[in-house]
């Protein structure tokens, strides 16, 4: 859903594309923050100067630069741009960490607490006092008071109060992070521990101050196009319904925007299905009691490798649809550069490992189309050699991978049974569920895990959820 932070992010992206195309980006970069927050007009934060400072950092992240690594505060954006010299180098800047936290944007939200508000009427029944398992609540001067040293934030008092007088304050990024990777640093602003971070993008969506930013490859792609490189757009199955019009029209729009060729990643998903099914059957023949889990969600793969080491050998060794799509592109033209286009933050980390040259989000693709005045609904459908299999196009939905493997396996072995479970969205609770599956307490032989509830179609960078 659109809100103030998605609006400004997208507006900046479109402005960058327009300025790049008119050849004025280097000079325009330093002007954008001032143009967007001119004097005598309203500010979103305390004043226009704070707004401008943060817009500068937002533009830095859009240039692919880590905000945390800023050493010279006086350095203007134009200098960063000139330094990176995209147009000459031909080197893709591949951010090692796809997320960056902008300290000045972070509000430094107070630690999560359960507190009693003015709504408390100091009633006679006092259900809060009676329901508190830790005896942390007292009524002082006709008002309930919670002892923060005793409170375990269970929320029983919140549910019990008939006046809705007790509330829980939260730190949205910390609350959203399934692995405890984001915490306040010594300056009281959020910082990501990249040793722990699985790049699921949940903090990026959760922060109401939009302090978590994606490090973009937008300019890298624009510059490569300008150099005349052959860039192939590999469009993820989650693209369906993200833009108005059909997926074939979106492929045409990509070609019109300057990609030398376009393809559906769903064609790669067909290969993932075939290989993953064969791998599953083989594993089951070897050990009918074991289980296998899917490998297409990169945040899930990161979660296992960083936090669930006991599960590593249960993760399918089959490459993801993106990796197969890259193979298809390279087989056709070894010189072509590959650009994965999807709704995912974690794909940026997978792309780095698997030699995919660039990753664009649907937002960034949208900005290129908007900047170049390409309307998807006005495009003729792209003449695809053949449409991808419906089960492959369905990969972006929760249960999609399971269905594809089941159909494939039933074709090979009639009456094949899959004892499958789906983890539909990674959070702290589902992390515990996964451990129960791993220990055999909840038996399963095929475990599909998607970091985003509902699947990739609800990814952190999707346009429509």
């Amino acid at each position: 859903m659109l809100n103030g932070s998605t609006f400004i992010r997208r507006e900046l992206m479109i402005r960058i594309v327009r300025a790049f195309d008119s050849g004025s980006l280097e000079t325009e970069l330093d002007r954008i923050p001032i143009k967007l927050r001119p004097k005598n007009e309203a500010s979103s934060r305390c004043c226009i100067y704070h707004d401008r400072a943060i817009l500068k950092y937002r533009l830095m992240a859009l240039l692919g630069i880590s905000v945390e690594e800023e050493t010279d505060e006086t350095k203007p954006l134009s200098a960063y741009y000139a330094e990176k010299a995209w147009e000459a180098s031909g080197m893709a800047a591949k951010p090692d960490t796809p997320l960056s936290v902008c300290g000045p944007a972070c509000s430094g939200c107070p630690d999560a607490r359960v507190v009693s508000t003015q709504n408390c009427r100091g009633c006679f029944a006092r259900p809060c006092v009676y329901n508190c398992p830790k005896k942390a609540i007292d009524v002082v001067d006709g008002h309930s008071v919670i002892d923060q040293k005793l409170c375990i934030k269970c929320g029983k008092c919140i549910a019990a109060c008939p006046y809705n007088a007790i509330v829980k304050t939260t730190v949205p990024c910390e609350e959203a992070c399934p692995v405890g990777a984001i915490k306040k640093n010594e300056f009281g602003v959020a910082a990501i521990d990249f040793e722990k971070c699985i790049f699921c993008g949940k903090c990026f969506n959760a922060c109401p101050f939009a302090a978590v930013m994606e490090r973009s490859q937008l300019i890298d792609v624009l510059a490569a196009m300008k150099r005349g490189e052959k860039l192939v757009a590999m469009v993820a199955p989650a693209a369906e319904k993200q833009f108005p019009g059909k997926i074939e029209q979106l492929l045409s729009a990509c070609a019109k925007a300057g990609f030398s060729d376009v393809m559906e990643v769903a064609l790669g998903a067909e290969m993932t299905t075939a290989h993953e099914t064969a791998e599953f059957i083989e594993r089951m023949e070897k050990d009918p009691k074991t289980f296998m889990t899917t490998s297409c969600c990169p945040a899930w793969v990161n979660l296992v490798s960083k936090h669930l080491p006991d599960l590593v050998h249960h993760v399918s060794l089959t490459p993801s649809p993106m990796v197969y799509a890259r193979e298809i592109v390279k087989a056709k033209d070894p010189d072509a550069k590959t650009v994965f286009i999807g709704p995912c933050v974690a794909k940026r980390s997978e792309a780095r490992r698997k030699d995919v040259d660039y990753v664009l989000s649907f937002e960034e693709l949208g900005a290129i189309l908007a900047g170049r005045k390409i309307d998807v609904i006005a495009c003729e459908p792209w003449p695809v050699p053949r449409p991808a299999n419906p089960t492959a196009r369905n990969y972006a939905r929760s249960c999609g991978v399971t269905d594809a493997v089941l159909v494939e396996a039933t074709n090979k072995i009639p009456g094949f049974k899959l004892d499958s479970k789906q983890i539909n969205g990674i959070d702290r609770k589902t992390c515990t569920m996964v451990k129960l599956h791993a220990s055999g307490k909840i038996p399963v032989n095929f475990l599909e895990v998607m970091a985003c509830p509902g699947g990739c179609q609800n990814g952190p960078c999707s346009l429509v959820k």
């Binding site: 659109l2 507006e11 479109i14 833009f243 108005p244 937002e363 908007a370 005045k373 309307d375």
Partner: protein, 85 residues
């Protein structure tokens, strides 16, 4: 008949028009015969006016609504219908 043209150019789409795609279904039943909604390709207002004003909606060929939302649009349609009565 009230004519509503929603800009579905990619800029407006990204900046909020995606939320207005179902506006026809949100119209109260008694208004439906009085309102004509059309999704248009880029009306080029984001360049003539300013990008921050997106998404744009054009009402009865002349009136331009900037930063349009389904709520704002429904309110304006209501005013026009009441004014006509």
């Amino acid at each position: 008949m009230i004519k509503i043209e929603i800009c579905c150019g990619t800029a407006c789409y990204l900046l909020g028009a995606a939320n207005m795609m179902n506006i026809e279904e949100e119209l109260p039943a008694e208004w439906r015969s009085k309102v004509e909604v059309e999704a248009k390709t880029c009306l080029e207002l984001c360049e003539r006016e300013n990008l921050g004003g997106a998404p744009y909606v054009r009402i009865n060929d002349t009136e331009i609504m900037s930063q349009a939302t389904p709520e704002k649009l429904l309110t304006r349609i209501g005013e026009l219908i009441e004014g006509a009565q």
